[in-house]
Symmetry: C2
Amino acid sequence: MIARLLAAVALAALPAAALADTLVDNINGLSVDRDGKVTHFSAMVIDDRGRISQVIGNGERPPQNIDYRENGRGRTVIPGMIDAHVHVMALGLAQLTVDLSDTRSLAEAQAKIAAYAAANPERPWIVGRGWNQEQWGLGRFPTAAELDAAVSDRPVWLERVDGHAGWANSVAISVSGVTAATADPAGGRVERLPGGKQPAGVFVDAAMDLVGKNVPPPRATDRDVALHKAQELLVRNGVTAVADMGTSIEDWMTFRRAGDEGRLRVRIMAYASSVPDMVLIGGSGPTQWLYEDRLRLNGLKLYLDGALGSRGAMLKAPYADDPANKGLPVINGTQLRNNMSRAAMDDYQVAIHAIGDAANAEALDAIEELSADYTGDRRWRIEHAQIVDPADIPRFGQHGVIASMQPVHQTSDRLMAEARLGPDRLAGAYAWRSLHDAGAPLAFGSDAPVEAPEPFVGIAAAITREDAQGQPPGGWHPEQRLTREEALAAYTSGAAYAGFAEGRFGRLAAGERADFLVLDTDPLTADPSDLRNVRVLETWIGGEKVYDASPEERRSVEGPGR
Amino acid sequence: MIARLLAAVALAALPAAALADTLVDNINGLSVDRDGKVTHFSAMVIDDRGRISQVIGNGERPPQNIDYRENGRGRTVIPGMIDAHVHVMALGLAQLTVDLSDTRSLAEAQAKIAAYAAANPERPWIVGRGWNQEQWGLGRFPTAAELDAAVSDRPVWLERVDGHAGWANSVAISVSGVTAATADPAGGRVERLPGGKQPAGVFVDAAMDLVGKNVPPPRATDRDVALHKAQELLVRNGVTAVADMGTSIEDWMTFRRAGDEGRLRVRIMAYASSVPDMVLIGGSGPTQWLYEDRLRLNGLKLYLDGALGSRGAMLKAPYADDPANKGLPVINGTQLRNNMSRAAMDDYQVAIHAIGDAANAEALDAIEELSADYTGDRRWRIEHAQIVDPADIPRFGQHGVIASMQPVHQTSDRLMAEARLGPDRLAGAYAWRSLHDAGAPLAFGSDAPVEAPEPFVGIAAAITREDAQGQPPGGWHPEQRLTREEALAAYTSGAAYAGFAEGRFGRLAAGERADFLVLDTDPLTADPSDLRNVRVLETWIGGEKVYDASPEERRSVEGPGR
């Protein structure tokens, strides 16, 4: 079933391959170097290996000996977006669950769950999230019987929108062995039916594990389908390459199966989730670039602290809204240095998750110390670099430390950041302008599935510091705004550099892979609100069209000419 | 260091690539089909992809439009040997240890150990085996001090020839925390220095673990080097493809690194060591053929019983030399069927280790039962099929069950087999003739490193049933002898069929990979003792020369003409 699904999907998405030299002309072409310098051009030639062989400037004469011509109809063509911080498999696996966050009534939710189950007969459990009985106007928790009405042949487990409760059907309760005799665990509550001890269907907080622990881990086929779904979502949003932050061996094998079978389209720069996985995958160093630059294990991802929302980010001073708390390290300084050394000794790149200012300082300390032993072009990365003490910002530039940031976090988090830090410690918060000016190479991303993998929303945030509603007008700490060119570079050539991929992809230039987008809007001139809603008409990777949104193209695919 | 070693080695072994159409002529060429039918030819053409494009019969005219000519000088050319049962990484890792089995004195052993340590400065432990104080004329166990004299900068751990004792140097004893206060464990003995409790250096039986458990597992770089050593050994013996029986995820990643980096030469048909490893590697089915038919995960290896020597093989009647014992299953019948089903449901091939007649009967029972559900071309394999009840032999043919046998086990084991089974239960022992005549497809191998990966020794055993000393004259149960053609087929086309590789390699025929050997002897006409000592002059895989033993070729490599 799954195999057939994948086969059908692969057929449907069969790219229009550039089998020979292809001229793409009549375009408003642009490409941005890491320093923000823009190249404009009107045409480009793609060779039969999917590389750009020539970029033709405005007014220059295109070559005549080409095999195929793709008329750009005057549209804007830019490099494919590189999302420098994605959790690829988590993004894909999330697509395999039911999303109830948009349901407005219990009946609507039941219908959606039943439809999902019918469309996925091979899934042993139905899993999902996002329900909210307040949004439904229900005034009480839903019951197992109400879920049975939607699906009764398999276990169902659905987390509430806030992640603090789960809703199970009768099969799930039964296979979990939960009965009237099951006691509430410490820190949790099993909702009970009126007038008895029978579980009602909803499990709160620590009681969630009673059922949740029985949800089977994803099967290999689930992973294959999830990777396909993740790629679909990415190319639809114009993302042609990603850095995968925390690649397990299961993830890697999924990537390789896709590569071996010709199903890998999006380029993945992988950072292993642990030293053992890093060594298991790469052996004595980073892997080759595989599948025509579509996959490489670059290095290691390390978590140094937690997140701001849960007050796990390590701060130099206590949280403004929790004066006894400065956050907690995930690993201590010795573990950090040991792991960094183990990676660096075999020339693996190191990417350190650091959110709080203390974590960023600690990461910079470790990088400074290790730089003495591990010389050369290391490109140490700090992931997020959300809250940085202004005193530490110059240290990024001194060691060429890459600031791998997610602009949309700033718009999502700003009110929380103000609460956590107070008004006086925000000078180094989401401070991409300061980091850039200090000489830190910038690489931008989304942290998907934490945020949607929408690079143009990220670019809009980076240049306006306003959210989708235009809040706050004029931008939050507007002195940190970037120019459009700088933001585009951080999503293209900058993100490529952050993964040692410069020269392979990230720019539209001779010798690089032909990864590009056809847009309905020029991101260098559009109004920021238009930029946020830019329409990706086509996505090309390696000279192959992997996504096509334009109706006239759809017609031509269906027509007799193809 | 290791990386440099590998790089140097790769350079030294750089194959003479057939970059264009190559004519290999003036040869005594032969290839054998699975039915034993021989094709003779005098020349063949290899295309620029390393495949045979044409085989030219005696008296036929070779094509004229070729780019390169390789003069065979009248020598015999046969297909590369396929060893259908190898433990590739164990074979390679064994090459990384010191072999003391040929040392005749303590001083000679010390010199060999010291030389090995000096040649391997990067190895954290020096590990080896094969010492025998009786063979040295020592009359006592050696001491830690005597081992310190050879190596004192690193721990050393050397197992005795019988595996029942280990010899440690002082560093190894120290890092293991063994002191005068360490008690002898149950079933083991720590040798002590005279007049005290200080450990003397040798640890017997259960006490071996006190030191042995501290030997670090192989590093990724060790695995890379080990695979290289295994390939060197295989191609020197004329083996161009193997079935790897029990591939772990670590093994697989080592194979893939070699493939990705162009270091994989020998073709590997892999059978996973467990269901989790199988699914992790293959996902929802066998992998693609990777690296131009050099690697594929075919399926799953299962162990049903133990071995005859340790009386672990499952017999229908008790052991003749242990009347209370019928052997023990490694997994029970339900586990066997569950694992087989799990593999077969996703079209993985199943290879079952079965030595004793009861194990073979049980494997056949399971195959019969599962064949009803899992139809089609399954090619169930029984590995070893050493002792089969004659009543069960026809069942191999009925279900097309592949008998994957190791002819040299017969000559090594015959006296033990007679002791274990008595004279009346040998009619189905190592019974390749009976199995072949019953319609079982035969695939021959070595079980390396249990036996040396020497296919011509195996062929000699298969056709004579005599050992290297000609014992017993006329052959042990000579009615089971094969013809030369049948034995060659089991090591070439038969072993390819056993791994779903027919049409890819195993014969010298148009469309197959150009995997061939140049021999100094015609195996179809040579005297059996000459056959046993046949010299592999050259080994070619995929149209590339990967081994060259001939002095004139060596001269030409060194000369100015190349």
